[in-house]
């Protein structure tokens, strides 16, 4: 395939909080401005803007991509919104990548925003309408209810305990202590997770990421422009996205095939044949603690059913052989859906540039990936990056 090389040259992120004073437009602009400033660009130099943001119901504005347009810096520019639910944030750089790789644009501003606090009493309510009206809505499924099924299935399939899985939450919330944007960084124990309120067994409150407000932005550039703008471009070397069936009853709950399909696309493009050796640092999507394990397996970073053991062995700690979610992930930094995925892209960007500060993983990593998951919980998005 003939396409141009695409680099990330700048990034910005707002603080993730439960209830932001700023409007969604303001959050978008704060992140966009930070990203532009980080690579000394002005809005006039941007050819094209893409925006990722999840359900309209969160912000309470129908067609919220349109509403957020000027906040995202898109006034009188080519502008497109993309939306694949929780997978949106990692689809954001893919959407921008198409514009640069195809030659349509040299500089693209990619913004991801979510303001979930507008959805009262709780954004869970938005999910009551997303499933099939005949076969699934009558069961009144909310996401916690559904993920309780999936987590239980995963535990049963591989003989895992809730404590094995709680280690992920402990690790990520601790990692988040070093993230300036973090909403719920804290040092907790496995017992804290097990003793937190049961929401829908086996899911406890501390197994789950919070609802959040926040925005993130990156700047993508073609190779020629990127080399002029920075000494440390981070290249998007592989992109993948795939969907499985939207019906719960017809998909494998203990293995995320959608992630594997997306990962295989991205790995083939990036020339990765042994993911666990060639990927030095990864940010899989972790809205629930078991999901980090699920996704590590789908990404083929470890054999099926083995992610919990790697976690117990400390392999996925920041100073382990395969650091997973060194940012603190959705569990620690917070989960403003679309912005979370882009936060993960930004974490890999900083890690590969050696600019992650206290969060920096050792060993000068040169290849990393970010992954997200969403839509009707059957969509995987993967981006492989190299310094």
């Amino acid at each position: 395939m003939a396409y141009r090389k695409v680099a990330i040259v700048g990034a910005g992120i707002t603080k993730f909080v439960r209830r932001a004073q700023e409007t969604g437009k303001e959050l978008s602009w704060q992140a966009a401005k930070m990203a532009l400033d980080s690579c000394d660009l002005s809005l006039e130099q941007v050819d094209c803007v893409t925006l990722g943001t999840a359900p309209d119901a969160f912000d309470g504005v129908h067609m919220k991509g349109e509403y957020l347009a000027d906040g995202a810096g898109a006034w009188r520019k080519p502008y497109m919104r993309h939306y694949v639910g929780g997978g949106t944030g990692v689809f954001s750089p893919i959407h921008g990548w198409f514009h640069v790789a195809s030659g349509m644009a040299d500089i693209v501003l990619v913004v991801a925003e979510e303001k979930m606090s507008s959805c009262v009493p709780h954004p869970q309510g938005a999910f009551l309408t997303i499933f099939d009206h005949t076969t699934e809505q009558p069961l009144k499924p909310n996401l916690i209810w559904i993920f309780a099924l999936e987590m239980n299935r995963y535990m049963q399939a591989y003989g895992l305990s809730k404590a094995d899985i709680a280690l992920v939450s402990v690790k990520n919330k601790k990692n988040a202590i070093d993230h300036p944007a973090a909403q719920i960084p804290e040092e907790i124990t496995v017992d804290d997770v097990l003793n937190s309120e049961t929401l829908a067994w086996p899911v406890n409150r501390l197994d789950i990421s919070p609802a959040s407000d926040g925005a993130a932005a990156i700047v993508l550039a073609s190779e020629r422009v990127a080399r002029r703008l920075t000494d440390k471009p981070v290249w998007i070397d592989g992109v993948g996205f795939a969907i499985d069936t939207a019906y719960w009853a017809t998909r494998d709950l203990c293995y995320p095939t959608y992630v594997e399909t997306a990962a295989r696309q991205a790995y083939e493009m990036a020339g990765i044949t042994e993911p666990s050796k060639q990927i030095h640092v990864a940010e899989p999507y972790d809205p629930f603690d078991y999901k980090e394990l699920h996704h590590m397996e789908g990404l083929m970073l470890c054999p099926r059913g083995k992610a919990a053991q790697l976690t117990a062995d400390g392999v996925t700690q920041r100073d382990g052989n395969l650091p997973i979610c060194p940012s603190g992930g959705a569990l620690g930094v917070g989960n403003p859906i679309a912005a979370t995925g882009l936060m993960k892209i930004i974490e890999i960007f900083l890690q590969l540039r050696g600019e992650a500060g206290k969060r920096q993983v050792p060993g000068n990593p040169t290849c990393g990936l970010a992954q997200a998951w969403g839509d009707l919980m059957q969509m995987g998005t993967v981006v492989v990056m190299r310094s």
Binding site: M63, E66, Y67, L68, A69, D70, A74, W75, R76, K77, P78, Y79, M80, M104
Partner: protein, 190 residues
């Protein structure tokens, strides 16, 4: 409906679906004898804030057309575009968009319609398909219907609607109320 718009000035909502298959050049030539080429694309969003727009013109259409014309190498739209399918969700929108697309001079579109220039046999046929006002308005899918009409016309498969000897067509859409977002595509059969 709301003066000066009357019911028959407004396109009626419809359910529907349109699908197009795109292919790279080599694959396209292997699949069909009459591929229709995408020569130019443009899209643009003006301000989302109602108070800040210029209501007299469609900036989103003008800017997206500029982008598409640049890509397609079109310097004289009125001379180089053989026919167009443009957004007519409300009757005046067809005229406003014709002018924004530089298919005629500002303020001239109404006269062209009255004198038959935009009829199927005119010099610049517009919305020969019947447009959203005639075929129905599919919201986000309305643009795809315009692309379908371009493909059928450029392939000579438009039946009784066929415009003779067309080579370059333009499709344009507006995203509708409350947006100031639009897109333009230019297709050709050579």
């Amino acid at each position: 409906m709301s003066l000066p718009l009357r019911r028959l000035d407004c396109a009626q909502h419809a359910d529907g679906s349109v699908v197009a298959v795109l292919a790279a050049e080599d694959t396209a030539l292997a699949l069909t004898d009459i591929p229709i080429w995408i020569e130019g694309l443009g899209w643009c969003t003006d301000t989302p804030t109602l108070e800040m727009r210029d209501w007299g013109e469609a900036a989103y259409a003008a800017l997206s057309a500029e982008m598409a014309y640049r890509m397609a190498g079109i310097s004289n739209p009125a001379g180089q575009i053989d026919f167009a399918e443009i957004c007519d969700e409300y009757s005046y929108k067809e005229l406003q968009h014709m002018e924004a697309l530089k298919l005629c001079m500002p303020g001239e579109a109404g006269h062209l319609v009255e004198t038959g220039v935009t009829d199927v046999n005119g010099e610049l046929p517009i919305n020969v398909s019947g447009g959203a006002l005639g075929v129905g308005h599919l919201f986000e899918a309305s643009g795809a219907h315009k692309i379908l009409e371009l493909v059928e016309q450029l392939r000579g498969e438009a039946g009784v609607r066929q415009i003779p000897d067309v080579e370059v067509g333009l499709a344009q859409t507006w995203r509708g109320v409350p947006t100031a977002t639009g897109a333009v595509a230019i297709l050709s059969n050579f």
